[in-house]
Point group: C2
């Protein structure tokens, strides 16, 4: 079947339908395909393949004292940690005041500042009529197992415009040059608002025009295969998960507890009733945090640390480097409570304030916490729904896997991701303020736009999307 | 015909259709109604009625020296201008660095900071099966003719939560209390990014449940009547225009030059290629601006001034007040170039950077400039398309009216708003970088969400919307 790029060059039409109904169906077909098409090289056992790539490169990551970071220094006056080139990112301080109907919250914390917008892009291509996703076995120093399945491209703008030295980014031309492919999704999405200051990346899915060379460390996989891999721990990296959440899957039902207008109105009220003022301050001035030889950390040992690592690859020309990473002190738990109303599955979204969000509030999972911060307290003082998630009986757990966050910035940042079935006694149809029932189809509509769905909820949306289309 | 609120109280359904197809059609029906329905009090000649209200209240606005502003002072260290209560707004400084592929731009300017989100709300109600809009004759001191047609409600959060003294906001309960009405549109929209620091207001349209008392200074008008009034100078105020732009009118065609996916991708690239850093600085430190007895103004007399006014009403218990306003030095010109491709009307949108935008870039009109800043230069150095708009032959002008911006903050901030038909020689199908052809239907989809369409483009969208449905 020739792709559109192989067709004779007729004058393009000046107008076309605004919506392409076939795209959603094509993704659904890929989700139903549990094996790659015949023209694609036999798919390896992906986790085993990732392990082989890790051993082949002989990657080694070691913790080092902050003073041993090469070309990274704490600025004398501000104490901000940055690279001498001014590139990459800085670790600075943030002062946050959040006001809502319930009161006034104020805190200070270290935060990563990286104003550049990067590209997280997956190249797709039809083989035998089924879309396949070009995925990469990529090492990131913060990943617990170093090598995970990544998007085709994961690059900062300096990276791919070659503003600083470094090898060319493979396949980048499909995402930057018109005519090399057809865009199926392209949206700026926020990253972790508790660790990044207003960071967003461009999440892209591009369908290749013409043949695509298959390079080492890359494989074509169907969405059905990716869905299966999302059930395994630490296989699909965060960047891949967020891009997968942007797939425009069909909403076969078209019904929901709230109409789209009512959902947007609820969200508007949530955003309007929170006034968040977040101001960058010098890292040296962040109260309650201290700088030691190995870490910038909280005085009570809570939340996270900024640490240093050195990265080496044993077997080839890759130059090693050192860099800071944020390391959470304890693992997290991230969960949507789910219910089915009149045959339509819903998840319970939480309008969350995170200090680093550009626009104050985004929709997060029902539960997104570090349990260790609460388990010493009586359960009545835990955040809403956390106890139910931690004590859910196995038969209520519809999905569970451990995933880690972006390994280029976060060290061993693992969370247990869950979908937990609830009932009226736990999670009523009329939920508490700040929570609302939404369908996966509604979340899929919202992620066409930025500023709506946070990165943890997008990981769960990727899992939901694969599950609901594969049924 | 009973409204839904009059129906017997059955248990509400747990799910409903995500989209309500009838809402768009109901607004279209109102646009086609050029007279109010019989049950509504005879519509006055609106401009004459506005004039009568102005004379009845005997409003008087006078310029005063900045030193005569009561309870407003310049802070000793920063020079910021603020109210002693800490309420209302402040005039501060802004330092902006904008970087794109074309280079590096840096400037400083005064800016209005008002972190609170207000409500701009229009109450609608069906009479004889036609939606009518409850509009207010409202005085704002900066309006050239003082009294214009405003939304039902125009209130800051402090206003309507009664955080500070002041009369209750009329009809506010329809916008803040569930059950008093049904939300038809509700979205946070940006205001002027060149004059406000990250200001947004909630734009709401609510359909009233049950009878609505008609208070003095309010009238029910059809969308068709409002469309006619939008063709008159200085009748429909900015707040009303932006709310009217959020009406979910039907897209009867469903085709466009770019698919929605391609349009969002183009916009994402525009936002990604601009890095804008906007930092608040003390007003006293803004370079190139000076403070005199009557104004904070640019040293070369360009752009705008911050001035003081006193406001008095002669005939009743309204207490007078004084306040600062921003006054543009020269009138503006705001225009969309329009073309029809294959029978589908399009406008040429411009991805604009304004220093006060929360997210760097929004879609603006093709032209949004103060001509006086350029007319001393040779035409080749004018901004793109400005010359064509200023010299367009009368037969190419499809719409023209003078409108003023928010009269509570801006004094005599008039612009000539135009829709100007263009052709391939002036505005090619493949426009210059930063410009793109979009349909009014696509803009209507985008204004369901914030951060996409700037306030000047929304005024033109309101005009377009009324024109296209009334055809």
């Amino acid at each position: 079947m020739p792709s559109h790029a192989d067709a004779p060059q007729a004058a393009p039409p000046t107008v076309r339908p605004r919506a392409d109904a076939t795209t959603a169906e094509r993704f659904a077909r890929s989700a139903a395909a549990l094996e790659p098409a015949a023209p694609v090289a036999a798919a390896p056992d992906v986790p085993a393949w990732l392990g082989r790539r890790r051993r082949a490169h002989d990657f080694r990551v070691e913790r080092i004292p902050l003073a041993d970071l090469e070309d990274w220094t704490f600025a004398p006056t501000t104490g901000n940690l940055g690279h001498h080139s001014g590139k990459f990112f800085t670790v600075e301080g943030l002062d946050v005041t959040a006001v809502d109907d319930g009161g006034h919250h104020h805190w200070q914390q270290p935060i990563i500042r990286q104003p550049e917008v990067g590209i997280l892009g997956i190249l797709v291509k039809e083989f035998d009529g089924v879309l396949h996703f070009l995925m990469q076995a990529k090492m990131e120093p913060g990943n617990p197992n170093l090598v995970q399945l990544s998007p085709t491209v994961q690059a900062t703008r300096s990276n791919y415009t070659r503003a600083h030295r470094g090898a060319a980014v493979k396949y980048i031309e499909y995402f930057t040059r018109p005519g090399r492919g057809r865009v199926l999704a392209d949206v700026l999405q926020s990253e972790h608002g508790s660790w990044f200051f207003r960071k967003s990346n461009r999440n892209m899915i591009v369908e290749a025009a013409g043949d695509v060379p298959l390079l080492e460390d890359f494989r074509w996989l169907t969405l059905g295969q990716l869905a299966a891999l999302l059930h395994q721990d630490n296989v699909v990296n965060m960047d891949a998960r967020t891009v997968l959440s942007c797939i425009p899957l069909p909403d076969t039902d078209g019904r929901a507890h709230l109409s789209d207008t009512d959902l947007l109105s609820w969200f508007t009220e949530e955003r309007a009733r929170h006034t968040v003022s977040a101001t960058r301050i010098p890292l040296a001035n962040v109260s309650g945090w201290k700088r030691g030889p190995y870490a910038v950390e909280h005085e009570d040992g809570r939340y996270f640390k900024a640490v240093g690592v050195s990265v080496r690859a044993g077997n080839r020309e890759v130059t090693g480097w050192t860099q800071p990473l944020f390391e959470p002190v304890e693992p997290g738990v991230v969960a949507f409570l789910t219910r089915t109303f009149d045959g339509v599955p819903h998840v319970l979204a939480h309008a969350r304030v995170e200090g680093g969000f550009l626009d104050a509030v985004e929709l997060g999972p029902t539960v997104q916490y570090t349990p260790a911060n609460y388990t010493h307290l009586p359960a009545r003082r835990w955040p809403p729904f956390l106890q139910h998630v931690l004590t859910a009986p196995p038969e209520a757990v519809r999905y569970e896997a451990v995933h880690s966050e972006e390994g280029g910035r976060f060290l061993n940042a693992e969370s247990r991701y869950l979908l937990v079935e609830a009932d009226e006694s736990v999670a009523p149809l009329t939920p508490p303020p700040g929570y609302q029932w939404v369908t996966p189809g509604q979340l899929t509509s919202l992620v066409r736009h930025g500023h709506y769905v946070n990165v943890q909820a997008r990981t769960l949306l990727a899992c939901l999307g694969a599950m609901r289309t594969a049924r």
